[in-house]
């Protein structure tokens, strides 16, 4: 699809807006509709759209596989880390009051924001992994260059 000028232009002009909208969703999770899950999905959709048009190898050049593998775990660690931090400060697990002991109610939106970033990062990483694994090996030209040519033949 990368030779189609309409597809190229449409994708190039849409991706910045998708990313900005995803960041808006992420940052306003506690104020309006949306949150980490939706934001992670939209960011992943933007990159996967890029991958569909320009090829998986080009997408993995922008977002490498080791990076998305790592993000899946980093998000869960951020979420659980917010809880462990509260425990370390002498509060209950995931009691966000630990972030601002002088104003527990005001700390709750902060805790939510941190937790939502964790959710968003995990969802983004896993969605990218799903796309990478589904399309792996479907187009030999899309894959990273290999030392062994037999690697690109699937089903053997």
């Amino acid at each position: 699809m990368k030779d189609n000028p309409i597809m190229r232009l449409a994708v190039r002009w849409n991706i910045p807006f998708m990313l900005i909208f995803a960041l808006y969703t992420q940052a306003h999770g506690e104020l309006g509709p949306g949150g980490g899950f939706q934001s992670g999905v939209i960011v992943a959709a933007a990159f996967i759209l890029y991958g569909l048009v320009f090829g998986g190898a080009e997408m993995r050049r922008v977002v490498p596989r080791w990076f998305t593998d790592l993000l899946g775990a980093v998000g869960v660690l951020i979420y659980a880390g917010a809880g462990v931090y509260a425990m370390a400060m002498g509060y209950e697990f995931l009691d966000h009051a630990a972030l601002m002991p002088s104003n527990p109610g005001g700390a709750e939106p902060w805790g939510m924001t941190i937790v939502e970033y964790g959710v968003g990062i995990t969802v983004f990483g896993v969605m990218m992994t799903i796309f990478n694994e589904i399309t792996e090996g479907t187009n030999p030209e899309d894959n990273e260059p290999t030392d062994d040519s037999a690697d690109t033949e699937y089903g053997s």
Binding site: G32, G35, Q38, L52, P109, I130, D151, Y154
Partner: protein, 222 residues
């Protein structure tokens, strides 16, 4: 018939048409697009029901990422469905049974727009749902309403200072978006393990699929 109900009927009719068309059409690309349209119509429907968080998720996940992932899968499968039109009666029966159970389950829920629904009468959230009333029948100005809401919210916060957090904070201890408040604060454990489930799904996919086709270990951590 009120315009809202007419809109709902039209939207739901289009949803049914899109759903049936997505199943019946033989071209898989068209089928994916119809499934996407189905999700978009459902998102519109959720919006008219004032369930904006659900609508958002439906639009992002149903119309967004799953369409794109299915298009990625189309590269593997080819474009045309192999036609097998035999009806699988046990499967049909199971679907009808589960559908009937779901409808039976909704009978216990409060009616749409019911002012006495638990979501509207719960003491902690009552102060916030007052802000959701769009048209004030008494014809008071916006500022009056805001002042009244502030007073109501303040007394709520004072009344529940011991159950909620203190009343001196900006959000009275609870963020404006009740859905986020419930998901991330009230049911934080639930959401933590949902995130862990998503993570586990990704790891399972890597373990099962990575290396089965093509280059096994290059480019990944595992």
């Amino acid at each position: 018939m009120s315009p809202t109900i007419m809109l709902d009927v039209v939207l739901l009719a289009l949803v049914i048409i899109a759903g049936i068309a997505a199943i019946e059409v033989r071209n898989l690309f068209a089928s994916v697009m119809l499934a996407s349209i189905y999700s978009l119509l459902m998102a519109c429907f959720w919006t008219t029901m004032d369930a904006v968080d659900v609508a958002y998720t439906e639009a992002a996940v149903g119309a967004g990422i799953s369409t794109i992932l299915l298009m990625g899968a189309l590269v593997l499968t080819g474009e045309t469905e192999i036609v097998r039109r035999a009806v699988h009666w046990p499967a049909l029966g199971a679907c009808m049974l589960v559908g009937a159970l779901l409808v039976y389950g909704t009978l216990d829920m409060p009616k749409f727009g019911d002012a006495n629904a638990p979501a509207h009468v719960h003491p902690i959230y009552a102060g916030f749902t007052k802000q959701d009333i769009r048209k004030d029948p008494s014809g008071k100005s916006h500022d009056d309403n805001v002042a009244a809401e502030k007073a109501a919210a303040h007394t709520e916060a004072e009344a529940h200072a011991e159950t909620a957090h203190g009343h001196d904070d900006y959000f009275h201890g609870h963020v404006p978006n009740q859905v986020t408040s419930v998901i991330v604060a009230y049911r934080a454990f639930d959401t933590l393990f949902e995130t862990a489930v998503i993570f586990t799904a990704g790891m399972g996919l890597i373990v099962l699929l990575r290396g089965r086709r093509g280059n096994p270990l290059k480019g990944g951590l595992l």
